[in-house]
Amino acid sequence: MKPASFDYLRPATVADALAALAAGGDDARVIAGGQSLMPMLNMRLVQPRLLIDLSRLEELRTLKADSGWLSVGAAVTQAELLSRPTLRDEVPLLAAALPWVGHFQTRNRGTVCGSVAHADPSAEMPLCLVATGGAVVLRNAKRRRTVAAADFFVGPLTTVKAADEIVESVRFPLAAAGSGHAFREVSMRHGDFAITACAATVDGTQASLAVGGVADRPTLRSWPLVGGALLSDLDAALNAFAWDLGGDDDQHATARYRRDLVRRIGRTVLEEALSCRR
């Protein structure tokens, strides 16, 4: 269980990295924390010819709250974000969900952007990005573009990111006054990928529920608040959402179980989010 051969580039600048990526095309992969990529390399599921290491690029170590967004650069680890003292106020959903990402030891190295780029349908970071209405900043050698989270994920391990692009940063909107947030996930063991993860956000006008682990990508649905309260027929709405998400059976859980969790945990987090509005 050892990786196949590859050339290794530790670029001096992001521009160098992007130039190499453009030249390498589909045979090149970028690595930052490597907590998703390295297992796939070790198992030889992924066999790039060139590995471009972003982890030491200071340009990508940005972590700042600015003009309504918390922007997290590609080299910022999950642990660094979690230890940000103001995170609970800036993006409370992230503060709630980050402890569920892997383990202490993998958060120490795994990056937020890497998790988003990897696009595991059960992962917490893509879910939070979708739940909060965040965005992904993609960059190649020629240009930079910003893609809304809802448009970024298109399938298991599949995103709209082109082969010559990197996820330069991800942006989470700063929580508005009067909004509420809640996160829960059900997994087999502590730290496992979610069977179902639910992230709720409530603002002055609507309640939203994002679900991971059921469909082939994190998926968001919103409902208007009625007189400041959740829909009276929330059960029906959640049932419709659960059926639309579908889900698959695997050796740990059935699709039906996943949908049941959407109905049950989904309601719980929506109620929590509503009750903890600030």
Binding site: M1, Y8, M38
Partner: protein, 191 residues
């Protein structure tokens, strides 16, 4: 495999796949140099290139935690790190916790290691080095964890021998906290 060549690519800094490259780390305080192909895992580099066998390899996909070392002080999986990525870094492994290779271990181990022995926190010992390295980082950040916090951190390690009770007990003891996990009290910790 030929190295990638492109006008736009800074070819000079590419480490070619089929060559061995010099990697220098500060291992437990001592600069050490070895050779590594780009694909060589840090776990293999430490064990087989530098002869530091104290770091164990249990799964090579980042789940079991046996290979956890500190890189620039931070506990991480050596199996999910390339040796070339560690170049220039400070690497701390279990061998550096005490100077026990100088003779009998009695009295030379750290308080944590002593507590592990006292509380039978290890049996086969294969997972132990990784757990000690995680703890040496974690307890620096959180010197008095609750049992729940501690178990959360420990969930990044798999141990098949102990059921974790002795490990939790050892850490709670060494952090000066009330005994947890007493199998005799009749008050089992509820997880």
């Amino acid at each position: 495999m030929p190295p990638l060549k492109s006008a736009a690519t800074p070819v000079a800094s590419v480490l070619a796949a089929d060559a061995r490259h010099t990697v220098t780390v500060v291992l437990n305080g001592t600069p050490r140099t070895g050779q590594a192909h780009p694909r060589l895992l840090l776990s293999d580099f430490l064990r087989h290139e530098l002869g530091a066998h104290g770091t164990r390899v249990g799964c090579e996909h980042g789940v079991c935690g046996a290979c956890t070392v500190r890189i620039d002080g931070v506990a991480q999986r050596a199996c999910l790190t390339l040796a070339v990525q560690a170049d220039g870094r400070r690497i701390d492994t279990v061998e550096g916790l005490s100077q026990s290779n100088q003779g009998p271990t009695e009295g030379r181990m750290t308080a944590l290691q002593e507590a592990f022995r006292r509380h039978h926190a290890l049996q086969c010992g294969f997972c132990t080095a990784g757990i000690l390295m995680s703890l040496s980082d974690y307890l620096g950040r959180n010197p008095k964890p609750t049992e729940e916090e501690l178990r959360d951190m420990l969930s990044g390690h798999l141990c098949r021998c102990t059921g974790y009770a002795g490990i939790v007990r050892a850490v709670m003891d060494v952090t000066g906290q009330a005994a947890a996990c007493d199998t005799r009290s009749g008050e089992a910790a509820h997880v």
